[in-house]
Homo-oligomer: 152 residues x 2
């Protein structure tokens, strides 16, 4: 059985701050090959961590995700990929796939951590097709919100 | 040569939000055996991550530090300790000591990540004596600031 059955690859389009009715909230916007968009609300620090990679910025001090990658590199642990596989009560669930030699392991994780780690290692991000179909948005709706790049 | 020469053990007293002149800022307060105190400014997310351990709270979703610990546990990677070893231009520098079998490795990291990880594994936190001496504060000064527990 293919573990990626019912999944498709998705890429990170950008991180934004959405000027919502309440507080400005960061989102990471994902986009599949045919242009379907999925925004996931994330924390400010995770937005910064993802944005650093997208903008090719090296932070002055390693962030938690950089530390993790540094340790993995030295121990020859490979990030095999990320699977965003569920959405329950507006919360997305994901798994980080980690390989050490022949040993492939899966870890429950937040999509934001998974994406920040995947981008640093150029690991593929896959999403369950049903999760994307249930939550994709029209770009026009996003354009209706006030959207700012987190890097100004 | 003892790698811990010139270092002493320090423990985490608590995390606070200091109601500074500008924005409320989280600090982690460290205390050595003889009661010397050292506050280190940290990010909000890191304060939450450290506070979760101190208050024995399991977050609904694993935070980045929880993910890292989960992966290390499965791969039999041990956190040997944390060394806070320098302060330059008000920025603290630390190293995370990681052991895999006979292999002891050091990684450059922020003190906040180091402390969040050390607390989860009960690994010792050591600080260079000179760094503590140069930066320790009187408790009375901290009491002068408006200090709030991050958990209300």
């Amino acid at each position: 059985m293919d573990m990626y059955e019912d999944f498709e690859e998705i890429r990170v389009k950008d991180v934004y701050i959405i000027d919502a009715l309440t507080d400005p909230t960061p989102v990471v916007l994902l986009e599949n090959e045919s242009g379907s968009m999925l925004p996931i609300y994330i924390g400010h620090l995770e937005a910064l961590s993802i944005g650093n990679v997208l903008k090719n910025i090296s932070p002055p001090r390693p962030m938690a995700h950089d530390l993790l990658i540094n340790i993995f590199d030295r121990l020859e642990i490979k990030i095999e990929g990320v699977m965003i596989d569920d959405k329950i009560d507006k919360v997305y669930y994901a798994r980080l796939l980690v390989r050490k030699g022949h040993n492939l392991m899966q870890f429950d994780a937040r999509p934001s951590d998974c994406i920040a780690i995947a981008l640093r290692t150029e690991a593929p991000i896959k999403i369950r097709k049903k999760v994307l179909e249930d939550s994709e948005i029209e770009m026009s709706r996003l354009e209706g919100a006030r959207v700012m790049s987190i890097f100004g």
